[in-house]
């Protein structure tokens, strides 16, 4: 059996099993089924690694099924495991396994655990569909599928109305982006007559298609990515998505689904390499997102919200890398971010679990004594994301900064500020949660407990990965050759990516900046929250109020977009529905009654009449035909 088929089969099987008979199985079986059926694809994928690494040209293909053939355009379910998709698959299944394992304990008390695991498996299946697909059609299938699963999982505790609303918000905002993706796909079909990567991308790379066309397709696809990867202006759904269970936030809204947009751009590298205007667009959108996400993150008091805005901001970093054409760097940051952000989310989940489902950091503080393992791993995650030297985040972020530095100095400065803010809000979160005095009022510190091994094992594994993740792509100045990821990915790129190698002086300056960014964030937060022992700000005035209210973006959308649409809806309801449709429907009724009465008169049951009608009709037919013959 084709390995790709197996990789896809297991999560689907897990979904089907848990979704149908999961709740009838003895307690505790369903979660393990879910976990095992993610772990198996991980092992299978690892088994394919050799095939791909031995031969740069090798790809594993699977043509499963042809949907239909429309005027020569073939729509088929085809999959390919190449160097890019195996990388993504390993992240998805590897981190997916850890998070499933973690969820076993996290969802222990939930009566609907089987449903949870079935959704989670279905999510992994769709995500694999997205990255393994060999054409835009499969990508779109997965794209919609992960959107659906995200909706289902954000609203998993649907009894809470506001969670349901958050789920709907996520779904609708994603749909706006999807429209862009769809339009982009239509343009591709129209101009290239195919949706297969292997047809479209080489054609683009060989220079088919004018710059206007390429730019339009690139920007439309990017709009899809903006929705899925929470970029300005479509990012407000991601913080609200924290309504879902924490493992969901870790898996879907930090490590995998939100990076689908980055995957899309990397996959279409040939297209974006030839569309400079679109690149510039991506760069500045990414910059704005990185900055605004980090700014809002400074003044949030919900442990998961801080991490959510941090994710928004980090996704902005990745798009900045894509905007300057550093595709490997972006994927590198996707990888390290998957490590440390999943770690941070799971750590946050452990904290939430430990303090009995509270998320407000104004009610925390001083937890490090009670939850030592969680504290240490959370600290490692914080150090990694803030760019502590030699941890994974340091290398990936430094690479992004270096690429931007060579591209545009203004962008570089903005990005440095965003990185500075990252370190600041992360240490604020760490100090307020784990250090200082305990501030809880409605529960006691002694109730706080460390989580069990099923939750801490993933934390430890992810912490190790967060520390060592940097070796995946060590910089040029250390190796004097390309990093591992860069040389791994090179064969998949159609247009040669020319990495910017800098002289050693600039490099040292850049590293110095990076380290001072970290130090500044650390020292600033420490002086504020440890030395001065400040409690979390209840921001009521000035810029702080603006920040804690998230720049009033939700309110702005409500007033500028939702209200006018609702207003339009009201008008259309009054005009189209009430006047036109109701009017039409009710005017049909008398007509029908008239026809019915007429029919009753002619269909009166008397056979003489029936024969008469028939003869009349025959006479009419013959007469007309003879007349016009």
């Amino acid at each position: 059996m084709n390995p790709i088929a197996l990789i896809l089969l297991f999560p689907l099987l897990g979904f089907a099993l848990n979704g149908t008979i999961g709740h009838k199985l003895p307690k505790g079986i369903a979660p393990w089924i879910g976990t095992l059926f993610i772990f198996l694809p991980f092992v299978i994928t690892l088994g394919q690694w050799d095939i791909l690494s031995n031969d740069v040209e090798a790809t594993i293909k699977w043509d499963a099924y042809t949907f239909f053939n429309l005027d020569g355009i073939i729509f088929k379910a085809a999959f390919t495991l190449d160097r890019l998709s195996i990388w993504m698959t390993l992240i998805i299944t590897g981190i997916g396994t850890l998070i499933h394992l973690y969820s076993i304990s996290y969802m222990d008390h939930d009566p609907n655990a089987a449903k949870f695991f079935s959704f989670l498996n279905f999510f992994v299946f769709n995500m694999l569909l997205l990255v393994l697909g060999a054409n835009f059609l499969m990508l779109f299938f997965g794209w919609e599928g992960v959107g659906l699963c995200s909706y289902l999982l954000i609203g998993f505790w649907y009894q809470n109305a506001s969670y349901g609303k958050a789920a709907r918000k996520a779904f609708i905002m994603n749909r706006i982006g999807d429209l862009g993706l769809l339009l982009g796909m239509f343009l591709i079909i129209k101009n290239y007559g195919s949706l297969e990567y292997s047809d479209v991308l080489p054609a683009i790379a060989q220079g088919t298609g004018g710059s206007v066309l390429l730019t339009s397709i690139a920007i439309l696809l990017f709009i899809g990515a903006m929705g899925k990867s929470a970029q300005i202006p479509l990012f407000t759904w991601l913080p609200d998505a924290m309504a879902g269970p924490t493992p969901v936030s870790a898996l879907i809204h930090a490590a995998t689904m939100v990076t689908a947009g980055i995957y899309l751009v990397i996959r279409c590298e040939a297209l974006y390499a030839l569309a400079p205007i679109a690149n510039e667009f991506i760069l500045w959108i990414g910059l704005a997102t990185a900055l605004i996400g980090a700014l809002i993150g400074l003044r949030q008091n919900d442990i998961k919200k801080v991490l959510a805005y941090s994710t928004v901001s980090q996704l902005g970093f990745m798009f900045v890398a894509l905007g300057v054409g550093a595709y490997t760097t972006a994927l590198f940051h996707v990888t390290t971010h998957a490590f440390f952000k999943a770690l941070l989310f799971l750590g946050a989940g452990s904290v939430i679990h430990g303090v009995h489902d509270r998320q407000d950091i104004t009610q925390m503080g001083g937890l490090k004594k009670m939850m030592p393992l969680t504290y240490i791993t959370f600290l490692i995650g914080t150090l990694a994301i803030s760019g502590f030297p030699l941890l994974s985040g340091f290398f990936s972020k430094d690479e992004i900064l270096a690429s931007v530095f060579h591209h545009n100095i203004v962008a570089y400065i903005v990005l440095v500020i965003a990185a500075l803010l990252t370190a600041t809000y992360m240490f604020r979160l760490l100090f307020l949660t784990f250090h200082g005095e305990f501030r809880g009022t409605d529960y006691a510190l002694k109730d706080v407990h460390e989580s069990n091994w099923k939750m801490t094992t993933p934390l430890v594994v992810l912490a190790v990965l967060s520390i060592l993740g940097g070796v995946l792509n060590l910089p040029h100045y250390l190796l004097h050759t390309d990093g591992f990821l860069a040389s791994w990915l090179r064969p998949t790129f159609l247009i040669f990516e020319n990495p910017a190698h800098t002289d050693i002086t600039t490099e040292i300056i850049l590293i110095g900046v990076a380290i001072s960014i970290f130090l500044f964030g650390f020292i600033y937060s420490r002086s504020r929250y440890i030395t001065k022992n400040m409690s979390p700000e209840q921001s009521t005035a000035g810029i702080e109020k603006v920040l804690s209210n998230k720049f009033y973006i939700d309110e702005f959308y409500q007033k500028a977009i939702v209200r006018p649409i609702e207003f339009l809806g009201d008008i259309l309801f009054a005009l189209v529905d009430t006047l036109l449709l109701y009017g039409l429907t009710f005017s049909v009724h008398p007509i029908l009654r008239f026809i019915g009465r007429f029919n009753r008169k002619i269909q009166n049951g008397n056979i003489e009449y029936y024969l008469l009608y028939m003869v009349g009709a025959i006479a009419l037919l013959l007469g007309l035909n003879l007349l016009f013959a």
Binding site: M614, N625, L626
Partner: protein
């Protein structure tokens, strides 16, 4: 055509064996005979068996089944099997009803294979005469008697007209073989004018067939006769007569391809008015059975659209539509029969069956979606193919048919409003029987063929 022989002798045997037996006890035997016949035709169409050697005594070329006609004949036989299987047996002794249905089926098979006007005429008569009797097979039912007499009188009338038309065609061409008619007409086309006898003849012959498939304005018999006849016979008329009628009509029109532009001129209005009248009248009906009668009229309208184009030997599109129509209608008739009472024949009979019998509710939903042509069922595939094929020659007709389809949703979906309505706690009551296997097969095939239309290529 060994199937005709199987059905005919099978029916004879059943008639004698079953003289003193309950109909119920021999139903399965009848179904098996029909199944065997269906399989034999299908095997012939795929070239697995060849029995032509046994039929050398049939005058050459009078009965010839091309592959498509063979598949339609197989569908016809299987439909008869489904109807006999699903619909309840009468309680009295004797196999006369089922035997007559099988004799009638022989006529239908003959019609599909006819390549000669006399054979076509014989087929129509063999199909119809048992039906005249069957319509009144509930001897105590006064409405059944009325239906029987009505059907007989009007049928006789239409037969006379058909015969007159056939005479004219013979007069105009000097032959009754389709292929020779086609030859004559090709000559005539060469000289730019068709003999007036041929035109008149085609109009009259068509009227005879339009009567059988109940196209407006020759449809008046059908609502009355359907309503009066026993449900089983009504289903038989709605499905078997329609399939056989259309297949024979298409077969006949292959001989008149040179006159296609001419006959499509006057058949387009007929099909348009059939679509419109059928749908609008169906909307106004209270009785579900009468609604089904009018719905079958509207389907005749859609099918006529297909006949407007020059018909080649392979009319799979027609076959697919007839298959989808047959499957859906059979299930709807079965469910109507199961739930209707003598007082209540409206859609109200389906109230709450989603709770009392999920299985029937599922079948009802699938069958309704099929006849309405909603995607994921074979109905959609059939309608889509039919409209696409008819579009080039009958654009306005197809647009009108789309409007008609939209109207049809509102009466087809009426049962859905009450399906999930229930007053109190009801207990599910499903007793699994042989019937459910059949119903399950029919329901599943509608969905599976709708999801994987590739399978249709294999059937045809």
């Amino acid at each position: 055509m060994i199937a005709i022989a199987i059905v005919f002798f099978g029916a004879l045997a059943l008639l004698f064996i079953g003289l003193n037996k309950e109909e119920k006890s021999l139903k399965l035997a009848a179904a098996s005979i029909l199944g065997l016949a269906g399989i034999s035709i299908f095997a012939e169409s795929k070239g697995i068996i060849n029995v032509d050697a046994f039929f050398t005594w049939v005058p050459a070329g009078m009965i010839t089944f091309n592959p498509t006609a063979q598949v339609i004949a197989a569908i016809l036989t299987v439909m008869a099997m489904i109807i006999i299987n699903l619909m309840p047996a009468v309680s009295r002794k004797g196999m006369d009803v089922i035997a007559l249905m099988m004799f009638s089926l022989c006529g239908g098979l003959l019609m599909i294979g006819a390549q000669h006007l006399v054979v076509l005429f014989l087929g129509i008569e063999i199909l119809s005469i048992p039906l005249f009797v069957l319509a009144g097979s509930e001897k105590d039912d006064i409405y059944g008697n009325e239906a029987s007499l009505k059907y007989f009188l009007m049928g006789a009338f239409s037969t006379a007209i058909f015969l007159l038309g056939a005479t004219f065609l013979y007069g105009g061409s000097g032959t009754m073989y389709y292929h020779e008619i086609l030859l004559r007409l090709s000559f005539a086309e060469h000289f730019g004018e068709f003999p007036i006898l041929m035109q008149t003849g085609l109009v009259l012959v068509s009227v005879g067939l339009l009567f059988k498939v109940s196209a407006v304005p020759f449809h008046f018999w059908s609502p009355d006769v359907y309503e009066g006849s026993p449900n089983r016979i009504a289903a038989f008329m709605a499905i078997i007569v329609k399939i056989a009628g259309f297949a024979a009509f298409a077969q006949l029109l292959t001989a008149f391809v040179p006159m296609q532009t001419w006959y499509s001129n006057w058949m387009l209005p007929i099909s348009a008015i059939t679509v419109l009248a059928g749908n609008i009248m169906a909307l106004a009906q209270q009785s579900y059975k009468r609604m089904l009668a009018y719905s079958s009229i509207s389907h005749a309208g859609y099918l006529l659209l297909f006949l407007l184009q020059p018909i080649q030997e392979n009319f799979q599109v027609l076959g697919v539509y007839l298959l989808s129509y047959g499957l859906g209608t059979a299930v709807l008739f079965y469910l109507f029969d199961k739930y209707a009472t003598s007082q209540d024949k409206t859609v109200g009979i389906f109230t709450g069956i989603a709770y009392t019998n999920r299985f029937d509710a599922m079948a009802l939903i699938v069958a309704t979606l099929t006849v309405a042509g909603i995607p994921s069922t074979i109905g959609f595939i059939a309608k889509y193919q039919l409209f696409t094929a008819a579009f080039p020659t009958a654009m306005w007709g197809v647009l009108l048919a789309l409007v008609g389809s939209a109207i049809s949703i509102s009466y087809y979906f009426k049962p859905f409003r009450v399906l999930f309505k229930t007053e109190s706690d009801v207990q599910p009551s499903i007793h699994f029987t042989w019937k459910y296997v059949c119903l399950l097969g029919v329901t599943l095939s509608m969905v599976i063929l709708g999801l994987f239309p590739v399978l249709l290529n294999w059937i045809f």
